[in-house]
């Protein structure tokens, strides 16, 4: 049986359909993008692409908008990861303690993950309006701040003020992705053998100790996984910005790198330039993922 396969073309016929599609639309374009990044090309010009060497990359590194987009992307990534993952961990830990109605809670937290990004971003755009839901909810808080500390922030214009546009995106991302993080954390938490905790109880460990010395180390691989996923997600973010800030936000304060890439290619027709940007982005994601794997992966292996 196995011998027959080794000689025949049958296995190749089985993988062929998938291979052809992946080759043409994923593998080949990967190299093609690299190739294109050395050209100036608007796709309209019939004379074709013009070889410019490293020019695209040089211009890119001098382009303040590109740096701004990288800065914004980093802020979104850091903000949503720090706030999102820690909040998710807290909720997951609370949920893992034999809560009644676990299924109901889990569903409630998970629903945002299911909703289409575009549609739900429109809903949040509505919530973020100047006299929208969020502002009227936090109004009492603002009044309290004003009364206690004489600190009058005034009306927050989430979608119009550069200092608030970034928090708006982070709030939305945290809300949207928390359900997924919670689910993954929770599954791992429920898997942890109860005998660890029983042993710790015998030793008289406090709840905090148990978290510090049992839960946290055992969760490390999961945390690492979520960290990687969240980083990749943040660095690829496009839809929320496109919906809530179609022009990139006030003073481009919400413009992510992917958004800038999209604008460069499909509004300004700088295809080579956009390809160079895509490659830089690719390498940033790759390096971040590798660093996370190396640093945290080692610690995870060590602590278990």
């Amino acid at each position: 049986m196995k011998g027959k396969d080794r000689l025949s073309f049958r296995p190749y016929a089985y993988i062929l359909p998938a291979l052809v599609v992946i080759l043409i639309f994923q593998l080949l374009p990967m190299f093609y993008a690299f190739f294109l990044s050395f050209f100036r090309w608007d796709m309209i010009n019939k004379s074709g692409a013009q070889f410019v060497g490293l020019r695209n990359y040089i211009i890119l590194f001098q382009d303040p908008d590109f740096w701004l987009s990288l800065f914004n992307t980093t802020v979104f990534a850091l903000g949503s990861i720090v706030v999102g993952l820690s909040l998710s961990l807290v909720v997951a830990v609370l949920l893992s303690r034999g809560i009644r109605g676990l299924g109901l809670y889990r569903t409630a937290y998970f629903i945002p993950h299911v909703a289409s990004m575009a549609a739900i971003a429109i809903v949040w755009k509505w919530i973020f309006q100047n006299d929208g839901l969020l502002n009227s909810v936090i109004q009492p808080l603002g009044d309290l701040l004003a009364a206690l500390f004489k600190l009058d922030i005034g009306q927050i214009k989430w979608l119009q003020q550069p200092q608030w546009a970034r928090p708006a995106i982070i709030i939305f991302i945290v809300w949207k992705t928390m359900g997924f993080n919670i689910l993954i954390f929770l599954t791992r938490l429920l898997d942890i053998d109860n005998s660890y905790y029983e042993a710790a109880d015998i030793d008289g460990a406090s709840a905090l100790d148990k978290f510090r010395y049992i839960t946290w180390p055992l969760l490390m691989p999961t945390t690492l996984f979520l960290l990687t996923i969240s980083t990749i997600f943040s660095f690829q973010m496009f839809i929320p910005v496109f919906i809530m800030f179609p022009a990139g936000g006030p003073l481009n304060s919400a413009m992510t790198t992917v958004f800038y890439l999209y604008k460069s290619a499909f509004s300004n027709f700088l295809f080579g330039y956009a390809c160079a940007m895509a490659y830089i982005l690719f390498f940033i994601i790759l390096i971040l993922t590798l660093i996370q794997k190396k640093v945290l992966g080692k610690r995870a292996a060590y602590e278990i």
Binding site: M1, K2, D5, R10, P11, Y14, I15, P17, A18, L19, V20, V21, I22, Q26, L28, P29, M30, Y32, A33, L36, M43, V91, L94, I99, Y105, A108, Y109, I111, P112, V114, A115, S116, M117, A118, A119, I120, I122, V123, K125, W126, I127, G154, Q155, W175, M178, L183, I184, T187, R188, F225, Q236, F238, I239, F242, I243, V258, C275, A278, L281, F282
Partner: protein, 429 residues
Amino acid sequence: MKGSWLKFLVYLLLTVGAVTMVFPFFWMLATSFKSSLEVLSAQITLVPRLKKYIRQDGKLEPVEFLYALKLIEAVNISEGLISEGIPKKNELSSRFLDELSEIYSDYRSRIGGIFLRYRPESEVGQRLDGIWENTMGRIDRLPSAERLPADVRTRVDSEIDRLSRTIRNLGDETAFRENLLAVVILAGDRRGAGLTVSATDIIYKRFLWSNFLKAWRAAPFARYFVNSIIMSIAVTIGQVLTSALAAYAFARMQFRFKETIFLILLGTMMVPKQVILIPDYVIIAKLGWINTYYALIVPFVAAVFGIYFMRQHFETIPQDLFDAASIDGCGRLRTLFQIVLPLSRGVVITVALFTFIMTWNSLLWPLVMTNTPEMRPLQVGLAVFNQESGTEWELLMAASTFSILPLLIIFFVAQKQFIEGITRSGMKG
């Protein structure tokens, strides 16, 4: 005692969190049922307010609209006022201005697209009490209306008179004329001007189901839906088929370069979609596929994720089954479809579910690859609708609702599969 307090706190925190997660959906739904007047008023109403309608010629019309029609004439009559005296001080009470800020016609298209919002002083600076912001429309295009009863006109005139003196300070005649209408509508509304209807013709409604119909008709949503369904189903079927075939070969057959090919495939998973977007656009343009279903479907009928996921499962099926099948004269392909796939139902459904949802939700790709409404899938259509319809939030929320609904239904039907799939693929990742 301490323990029960702690427990209470845990439940409280979890519930507050859960409500926060679900509330935007509730808010979306609540907004979908409101009138545009209610949506634009500064007051937040969790449950849509009762709205007053009047039956006229067999049709239900919001009260504000009828008053607008009936009072438009008054604007023309009062135009003479514009040239009169310059105001000495602001004579409008803040309460009156608040009421004014709520004015907005439900049928803006039918009365010429007037859209007035009052902005409080704080936003405008030192300009008297504020300004009315006009975002679209002009008075000239208004349809003519019946003449007003004399007593009503007197009242309206005096109201206009008072307002005119304030508005003149803005120094903009167009603004003046448009603001007049707001006053006129208000005057009519508050005083029951000029409308004599019997009590049976007055109807109160809380939920405006008609918003969904309006939204559905405001853009070719039916077409968007059809496109999304075609795209998602075709991609799902294609991906499951090609993945199953390839995974079967990788899991159950020996061939040269097997692991090398598989590793290369896994490597492509590392590449962000955005990197290949532009070269793919070029390739698809060269193939002449821009703005066709091919562009939306073909590049996605195979994915490494599906192959990887299915291979893992196919490898766990005991060899005995395959031996038995081959002794029975069951060919390779038949074994796949009649033995392997039925045994892997869970995995197949998971892959199909994820593929479907991912395709349904994709935006950037179809945005780039299509350029006419006929080819747009739902997400792109919705994004365009979002940019075109500005502040018609009740319609935007209605459209969001029916865009989100299919996935929510799938989620609730296949919740178990869904959550299992995520945790399984997640833990392995």
